[in-house]
Symmetry: C2
């Protein structure tokens, strides 16, 4: 079991952040010592890891709470509701992946054009790099026009 300071420092967050997550129902330590100290288990540690990882890819604490609340139970009649939530999150994740793949491509182009790279540096900003494959990747966008 970990005390708050141990868990916090091992993830480079503040003790206060863990108390904050607890207050908001995201991570409640599984135990308390006799004197009231929070005691976190390995499972609690995994939950914290999940929270922090989900945050880095743009999920809010509310989103994360929802993700953590998912419990699949095939015999439960709320199952269809769960599937709706799961599938919605799955779609969101897939949209994010597509977005990031696009950024990745553009950043690679820029990186390759840097410092005497063979690239023409015709795309010298991320916007131009993004645009250079916008027509392949994002058919939703159409032509430029001026008013």
């Amino acid at each position: 079991m970990y005390r708050i300071g141990e868990l916090a420092s091992s993830f480079k967050v503040k003790n206060d952040t863990l108390r904050f997550y607890e207050k908001h129902g995201l991570l409640t330590p599984s135990h308390r010592s006799e004197s009231g100290y929070r005691l976190y288990t390995e499972q609690d540690k995994k939950i914290l890891s999940f929270i922090l990882r989900a945050k880095t890819v743009g999920f809010s604490l509310a989103d994360i709470h929802e993700l953590l609340s998912i419990e699949v139970d095939k015999d439960n009649n709320a199952c269809a509701d769960v599937k709706i939530v799961v599938d919605a999150k799955l779609e969101e994740v897939e949209r994010k992946i597509a977005e990031l793949s696009h950024f990745q491509k553009s950043l690679k182009q820029l990186s390759d054009a840097c410092c005497g790279g063979s690239g023409s540096a015709a795309q010298c900003t991320i916007l131009e790099a993004l645009e250079s494959d916008i027509n392949n990747l994002r058919p939703e966008h159409h032509h430029d026009e001026q008013e």
Copy 2:
């Protein structure tokens, strides 16, 4: 050219948000009318699109500002600095993609286990699904039971 309200409503953001981005150096309209109205070009529209997309994948406005400031110029002696920034962002993007791919796999498992899927629902929460990935990297069972 678009006035603020046109651009804002076409991206479902508030006029105030555009003024906020301007104040923070993210998106300055290319023109002003004689009477002082902001006038946005197609290029400005692309910048806004970029800002909003980058936000959904977890970049802060400060990150986005940095991304927008990247300008590759092979003849410029600041080029190495640019490459450092670009490569750092590229790594960040790749970490995010890896994170999301992991989530995606887990959510798929949960979705498949839902509502009479053949899956054992042994992984009934996202945490368990995430963990099962660590041991068992084979996400292949198809569902065929009655619904």
